[in-house]
C-alpha cells in the first residue's frame, strides 16, 4: 500500500530525483569544514523568526495607541506570550550574529570567487535584509528605546544628499515618527521584507546546491586527500543536532533573560541616559558620537561617516569583482574592518565584553569542529 502511494506520488512529483540529488550531495572535509554549518544555523533562526513572528501577529496591534499595550497584554496575560516574544527577540539577535559570522567566514575563506559571485551577493543582500528586519521590528513595541532608535535611524537616511528628504518621509510616512511610521514599519516587517527575503533565500540556497561548497585556497590539497562527507545523512544529522542545541539555548535565554519591554514611547520626553541601539549598530552609533558638528562645502560632517559606511557596504557587495588578484589586500582590509567594528563596539559599551565574545565564539567553533569531525579524522 505505502509502496503504491509512494510510487503514485513519485510519478507525479519526481521525488526520486530529489532523493538521487540528496544521496549524491557531499560536503568537502578539511580543517575549515565547521564553517559550512553557519549558513544552516542562520537559516534555523530565520525559521524560528517566521514561526514566532506569525504567533506574535495574533495579538499585536500596530498603532501608537495600542502597540505597547498589546505587547504588555501578550507578556502578562497570554499563556506563554512572554516565551514567544522573548524567543523572537533572542532569535533575531542570534540570527544577526550567525549571519555576520557566516559572512565573515565566507569572506576570509574567499568562497565568493568564481563561479560563486552571485551566491555571495545574494548572501550580502540577505544580511542587509536581516538588518532591515531588525530595524523595522525594533519600532513595533513602541517603547522609548524603539522610538528614539527610529527617530535617529530615519534621520540618518535624511542626511543623504539629494534623495535624503524623500527617503526620510518615505520611511516615516510623514515628517515625524508617528503612528503612521508604525503602520509602515509593520507592513515592511511582516509582508514586504519576508516576501523579498524568502525569494532571495531560495535563490541563495539554490545557488549553494548547484555550485556546491567552495573549498578555500589553503585547504584544497587536504580536501582532495580526505573523503568528502555525504550530506545525507551524515552532514544533515550534524546540522540537525546543532539546530536542536540552538533551540535549547534559545529556550534557556528566553526563560532566564526575558526580553524587556521598557517604557511606552513618549514624543515629549527627553531620551534617557545611556540610550544605545542594538549591539550590531553600536559601532556606527559610537562613530556618529565622535564626529563633531559642522559642515564642509554644504555637506554636514555627520554625513561623512554615513556615506563611508554605505561605501563599505557597497564594497562588501561587490567584493567578488574587486578582489581579482592573489594579493592579501582584501584579507588585511577585512581584518582591519573587523578590528574597527569590534573596537568601536567595545568603546560604545565602555567594556571589553564584545572582544571576549569574539574569543569565546572562536573557542566554541573549535569545540564544534572537534565534535562534528568526520570519521576519517578520528
Amino acid at each position: 500500500m505505502t509502496v503504491t502511494v509512494l510510487k503514485w506520488l513519485d510519478d507525479r512529483l519526481g521525488l526520486s530525483m530529489l532523493r538521487d540529488f540528496l544521496s549524491h550531495k557531499t560536503v568537502p572535509m578539511h580543517r575549515y569544514s565547521v564553517f559550512y554549518y553557519l549558513g544552516g544555523m542562520t537559516l534555523f533562526f530565520f525559521l524560528v523568526q517566521v514561526c514566532t513572528g506569525v504567533l506574535l501577529m495574533l495579538y499585536y496591534r500596530p498603532s501608537a495607541n495600542e502597540a505597547f499595550e498589546s505587547i504588555e497584554l501578550l507578556v502578562t496575560a497570554v499563556p506563554f506570550g512572554w516565551l514567544v516574544r522573548s524567543i523572537h527577540a533572542w532569535s533575531a539577535n542570534l540570527m544577526v550574529f550567525f549571519a555576520v559570522l557566516h559572512m565573515v567566514s565566507v569572506y576570509f575563506l574567499k568562497a565568493y570567487r568564481a563561479p560563486r559571485e552571485l551566491t555571495w551577493m545574494s548572501g550580502v543582500l540577505l544580511l542587509f535584509l536581516i538588518l532591515a528586519f531588525g530595524f523595522s521590528g525594533y519600532l513595533l513595541p513602541w517603547n522609548q528605546l524603539s522610538f528614539f532608535a527610529t527617530k535617529v535611524g530615519t534621520d540618518i537616511a535624511g542626511v543623504v544628499p539629494v534623495v535624503g528628504e524623500w527617503m526620510l518621509r518615505f520611511l516615516r510616512g510623514g515628517d515625524r515618527v508617528t503612528s503612521a511610521t508604525l503602520s509602515r514599519f509593520y507592513g515592511w516587517h511582516v509582508a514586504i521584507l519576508p516576501a523579498i527575503t524568502t525569494t532571495l533565500l531560495l535563490v541563495h540556497l539554490l545557488l549553494v546546491q548547484t555550485k556546491g561548497m567552495s573549498v578555500a585556497p589553503g585547504v584544497e590539497e587536504e580536501a582532495r586527500r580526505r573523503p568528502p562527507m555525504k550530506f545525507f545523512p551524515h552532514f544533515a544529522l550534524r546540522d540537525l543536532s546543532g539546530w536542536i542545541f540552538a533551540l535549547g539555548v534559545l529556550a534557556a535565554l528566553a526563560a532566564m533573560l526575558p526580553w524587556e519591554l521598557g517604557e511606552k514611547a513618549d514624543a515629549f520626553a527627553p531620551a534617557y541616559a545611556d540610550i544605545r541601539p542594538e549591539w550590531y549598530y553600536v559601532f556606527m552609533f559610537q562613530t556618529l558620537k565622535l564626529v563633531p558638528g559642522g559642515e564642509v562645502m554644504g555637506v554636514e560632517y555627520e554625513a561623512i561617516p554615513i556615506l563611508l559606511f554605505s561605501l563599505a557596504g557597497a564594497l562588501l557587495l561587490f567584493v567578488p569583482f574587486l578582489d581579482r588578484g592573489r594579493s592579501r589586500g582584501w584579507a588585511i582590509g577585512g581584518i582591519l574592518g573587523l578590528a574597527f567594528v569590534v573596537a568601536m563596539t567595545c568603546w560604545g559599551y565602555g567594556t571589553l565584553v564584545p572582544l571576549y565574545i569574539v574569543f569565546l565564539t572562536a573557542l566554541l567553533l573549535a569545540v564544534f569542529a572537534f565534535i562534528t569531525r568526520s570519521a576519517d579524522a578520528r
Binding site: 528614539f148 535617529v152 518615505f170 515629549f268
Partner: protein, 153 residues
C-alpha cells in the same frame, strides 16, 4: 510606395514594442512611487502655548520641562529665578529629544552626547546647529507664581 526592407521593418516594430513596454512599466510605477510618498498635510499653526506655572514641581526640581508646541516638543529651562528660556527640544544632530542637566547647567542630548548652553548654542558633541529659540512670557497668576507662555521668537 516602396515597402521597407524586412530587417528595417523589424527594427521599427521592435522599437515600437520596446517603447510601449517602457510606457506600460512607467505608467504602473509612477502611481506607486507617488502613492508611497506620504502627502504633506497642513498642520494648524501654533503661535503660542501655555507651559504651566512657575511653581511646577518638575521645573523646580529638575530645572526643565518639555511641552507640546503643536506637534513638536519644546524645552523650557529655568535659568534663574524669573529667567525662563525655551528652545526647540529636537536635537539638531539626529532628531533626538534633549533634556537639561541642572548640575552642569547645560542642555544635553543623551543619544549622542550633544551639548548646548542656555542660549541654545551648540557647545559640544556632534550637533551642527544651535537649537531654535522660543520666547517665554511670564503672566502673573497669583502671589509669587506666574504662568509661562511660550511663543515663536
Amino acid at each position: 510606395m516602396e515597402a521597407l526592407p524586412i530587417p528595417e521593418r523589424r527594427r521599427f516594430i521592435n522599437w515600437f514594442l520596446g517603447t510601449s513596454m517602457g510606457a506600460l512599466v512607467a505608467s504602473v510605477l509612477y502611481p506607486i512611487v507617488r502613492y508611497v510618498s506620504p502627502p504633506r498635510i497642513a498642520e494648524a499653526g501654533t503661535a503660542q502655548v501655555e507651559a504651566g506655572a512657575t511653581d511646577d514641581p518638575m521645573l523646580r526640581e529638575k530645572g526643565f520641562k518639555i511641552v507640546r508646541f503643536g506637534a513638536d516638543p519644546v524645552i523650557v529651562v529655568r535659568a534663574a529665578d524669573n529667567d525662563y528660556r525655551a528652545f526647540s527640544a529636537t536635537c539638531t544632530h539626529l532628531d533626538c529629544i534633549v533634556g537639561f542637566e541642572k548640575d552642569r547647567n547645560r542642555i544635553w542630548c543623551n543619544c549622542h552626547g550633544g551639548a548646548y548652553d542656555l542660549t541654545g548654542r551648540n557647545v559640544g558633541g556632534p550637533p551642527p546647529r544651535p537649537l531654535t529659540a522660543f520666547k517665554v512670557h511670564l503672566v502673573p497668576k497669583s502671589e509669587g507664581t506666574s504662568t509661562l507662555v511660550v511663543s515663536k521668537a
